[in-house]
């Protein structure tokens, strides 16, 4: 059975496609959302999910969150004695999700469909596939997040389909996709986005505003203080989405600090971020060749779309009100389950076919002659952004000079007419016979497959010589040998068994409250010692009893804060 996974910046979900449609699976703590946080305990064992999120406060140097933003880079995070690349951290999340799915399904899970931001580049997609391999599963397909959300939504509307714009503002990324559903075909017309714009950035803007209003700098605060403040800001942001004015108080750098923010102030603080949402929306509409009146629905998904400013911006730009998914956190996960069902050719989905687009423009660097002078570094597109994939296109080029013996064809991805503003993907060089330049054509063919992999082929037409390029090894991508090595290393790391998750999460919560609530420290310490003592007795019944007591106590303490 293939599972569907939403591997998110702030939290992740797993599920399957069953007889009743898509179904999400709860983790060991009974929640559908597993925070995408990894922490390393005192004995270098790995802790994932809610407990790890609590430990961001109590053990900030041994915990890490929002690492999806580093996918496709070789950034290394040191936690305890471990050093992890972003795809390894993602693999730890995937392993935890898979353990939950296996416990629920009662059998091994070996294949998955994972959702990725539509605007993810080649190296970010590769890193996501490798994360799957490192977690011991085969990634059958990567599905774009807004497409997944539209699958979950569109299939609900059985009446003939329609055109949707999906506005997907997640924890770390922003995607816009325009899709059409008709006769069982889900066709993506256009996607656009920003890989570094999400709920986390809005929290950061609030945090910066708080610090500057209080004349503080992040560097003045202890890591734990900063983590406590981040939690407060996060809670404040969520409350702002519901109420009109929110206030909090906490002690920082030895002084009590109070802060009061209303929706209008929040909108002001976040204005520069809101501005960045506009361009992808405009670009997607233009590329889809649609006017707002031709859209049947505008659907908001992703946790950060709860912020009223998302809906406000959409209404200003489109002259109409958007719809909000009742549970924007789950829409993409549900869609990933539908995609998994399609991949497995589930009978009820047999009739649905999905076509997607490539989000970026791909081309080569050329030079152009004007008034006898050559300008180099001009980007010549071969595959335009938002072409339906799979797609293969060829363009003809000529060498710059007569008698030129070789050309170097540099491959770029991006939207600027100048290559220096785009991303260089690699190069292919090809030898030429000595001829006049206009008698020496070269055909360059780009082939982009359904999984987002690009193949480039150059042919010197006068000799028939053919050169294919294997795109340069990206610094963010691991080799097969390295993957095998890391796979073994990850398998050797100790992870707590599933049935201990609840105990670990409770201890982590108590430790977090210990840092946050000075007045309750002694009591919390006592309760922690007592609970740890109960765990040592290894009597399941006794542990269950103490666990219930301990949880009640922590609830009471937190309610008083």
């Amino acid at each position: 059975m293939i599972v569907g996974i939403d591997l998110g910046t702030t939290h992740s979900l797993i599920g399957v496609y069953g007889p009743d449609g898509p179904r999400l699976i709860a983790n060991a703590l009974g929640s559908l959302l597993t925070p995408s946080v990894v922490s390393v305990g005192d004995h270098n064992e790995v802790i994932v999910g809610r407990a790890a999120r609590e430990r961001l406060v109590s053990h900030p140097q041994r915990s890490v969150a929002a690492f999806k933003r580093w996918m496709g880079t070789d950034r290394v995070t040191a936690l305890g004695k471990h050093r992890f690349r972003p795809e390894e951290l993602s693999a730890l999340i995937l392993k935890s999700l898979i353990a939950d799915a296996e416990a629920d399904l009662g059998h091994r899970v070996e294949e998955a469909v994972i959702s990725v931001p539509a605007y993810f580049s080649d190296s970010q997609r590769k890193a996501t596939r490798i994360a799957g391999e490192l977690a011991g599963i085969k990634v059958e397909r990567l599905i774009n997040e807004p497409t997944a959300a539209a699958l979950a939504y569109g299939l609900q509307q059985r009446d003939g389909g329609g055109r949707y714009l999906v506005f997907d503002l997640g924890g770390g990324t922003f995607d816009v996709s325009i899709l059409e559903l008709f006769d069982g075909i889900m066709e993506v017309h256009a996607s656009a986005g920003d890989n570094f714009l999400g709920g986390e950035d809005f929290s950061q803007a609030l945090l910066d505003a708080f610090l500057s209003e209080h004349g503080l700098a992040a560097s003045q605060l202890a890591l734990t203080e900063l983590a406590i403040l981040e939690r407060r800001i996060e809670a404040l942001k969520h409350e702002l989405a519901r109420g009109s004015e929110v206030a909090f108080e906490l002690s920082l750098a030895g002084q009590p600090r109070a802060w009061r923010v209303d929706e209008a102030a929040f909108a002001r603080i976040c204005e520069p971020l809101v501005q960045r949402l506009r361009a992808p929306l405009e670009r997607a509409m233009r590329d889809a060749k649609l006017s707002p009146s031709q859209l049947d629905e505008i659907v908001l998904v992703g946790g950060a779309s709860r912020m009223p400013l998302s809906a406000r911006l959409v209404s200003r730009m489109f002259g109409r009100l958007p719809l909000r998914h009742v549970n924007p956190d789950e829409a993409i996960g549900l869609g990933a389950c539908v995609a998994a069902g399609m991949k497995a050719r589930d009978e009820s989905l047999e009739e649905i076919i999905l076509t997607d687009v490539c989000p970026h423009t791909l081309g080569v660097s050329t030079s152009r002659e004007t008034h006898g002078r050559y300008t180099s570094g001009i980007f010549s597109p071969i595959i335009h952004r938002n072409s339906t994939v799979p797609v293969s296109r060829v363009e003809r080029y000529f060498p710059t000079y007569d008698e030129q013996r070789a050309v170097e064809i540099e491959i770029y991805q991006g939207e600027s007419p100048r290559v220096e503003h785009n991303v260089r993907l690699g190069m292919v060089s090809i030898e030429l016979p000595p001829k006049r330049r206009d008698e020496n054509p070269i055909d360059v063919r780009f082939t982009y497959d359904i999984n987002g992999l690009l193949q480039v082929e150059a042919v010197a037409l006068s000799t028939g010589l053919k050169r294919e390029v294997v795109l340069e090894k990206n610094p963010g991508v691991l080799s097969q040998d390295e993957i095998r090595e890391r796979l073994a290393a990850l398998a050797a790391i100790k992870v707590h068994p599933r049935e201990q998750q609840e105990n670990i999460a409770l201890i982590a919560r108590a430790e977090r409250l210990y840092e946050e609530l000075l007045w309750a420290r002694e009591q919390l310490q006592d309760a922690l010692v007592q609970f740890r003592g109960a765990l040592d007795m290894q009597d399941p019944e006794l542990i269950a009893h103490h666990r219930a007591e301990f949880a009640r106590y922590l609830d009471a303490v937190e309610a008083q804060s």
């Binding site: 075909i185 501005q275 009146s293 209404s315 200003r316 958007p322 076509t355 600027s416 007419p417």
Partner: protein, 250 residues
């Protein structure tokens, strides 16, 4: 084979027939199974759609509903977004839709607007220009912004060039600084405009750091004249003197 023949259609097929035929053919030619055949099918489909839409466009009439009253100054109605109902895991949607507002040329004078935009670009700093563009309520409309882009290029070509920094802000705001077939026809004009602006040089309204403040080191004094100008002036004086002399003697 014509695109219509590929889909098994006659040339007078309408949009829904094209889509149905494409859906039928797609089941035999899946993108993950036969990429080459799929690409051919999709191209035929795109061409048919383009054809159908063009031939229908002449007959289309648009019915617009004015949302200005609803949207008001700040263009925001109080949103009817219900509190999340987490009890159900199946997607349910709330809120309300309103028919799209479209462009009303009687209300919006694009010529006057572009004139204003160019004035702002000439008279203000880059930051002010950027703020003005971002905050202009009319530019929030996706449709209006799209329709303005070609008019803007035509206007820029008619007027004296802007400073390059200002021009780049305007081009970026209207997404005219990227490659795409939709704006390909405008790209040569954009390249020319940038070349003119670059030739015009830096914006003199900004103060420049002068590493060597000796007077007169950079070129001529404003009152300095070239040798040919001196010659011309002398000849002029001589001519005047001769005229005066002639007048006196008469």
């Amino acid at each position: 084979m014509t695109p219509f023949a590929r889909l098994g259609l006659s040339h007078d097929a309408d949009e829904s027939q094209v889509k149905r035929a494409y859906a039928r053919e797609l089941r035999k030619t899946r993108p993950d199974e036969d990429p080459v055949a799929f690409q051919r099918l999709h191209e035929a489909y795109a061409q048919c759609l383009e054809w159908v839409r063009r031939s229908r466009a002449g007959a289309a009439t648009a019915v617009f509903e004015d949302l200005d009253e609803l949207l008001g100054d700040d263009a925001l109605p109080s949103l009817r977004v219900r509190a999340d109902d987490a009890a159900t895991a199946t997607p349910v949607f709330d809120g309300a839709t309103v028919t799209g507002r479209a462009f009303d040329s009687a209300v919006f004078d694009s010529g006057a607007f572009l004139g204003q935009l160019l004035r702002i670009a000439r008279e203000n700093t880059s930051q002010e220009l950027q703020r003005w563009l971002r905050e202009h309520p009319d530019l929030y409309s996706v449709e209006r912004k799209q329709a303005l882009a070609p008019l803007l290029i035509a206007r820029l070509q008619d007027e004296p060039s802007l400073y390059i920094a200002q021009l780049d802000i305007v081009l970026a705001f209207f997404d005219l600084d990227t490659v795409h077939p939709r704006t390909a026809s405008l790209q040569p004009a954009v390249a020319d405009l940038r070349a003119y602006s670059q030739a015009r040089g830096a914006d003199f309204r900004g103060l420049q750091f002068d590493p060597d403040p000796r007077p007169g080191k950079r070129g001529r004094h404003p009152l300095a004249l070239s040798p040919s100008m001196w010659f011309f002036l002398l000849m002029l004086l001589a001519a005047i003197a001769r005229v005066i002399k002639a007048a006196n003697s008469a």
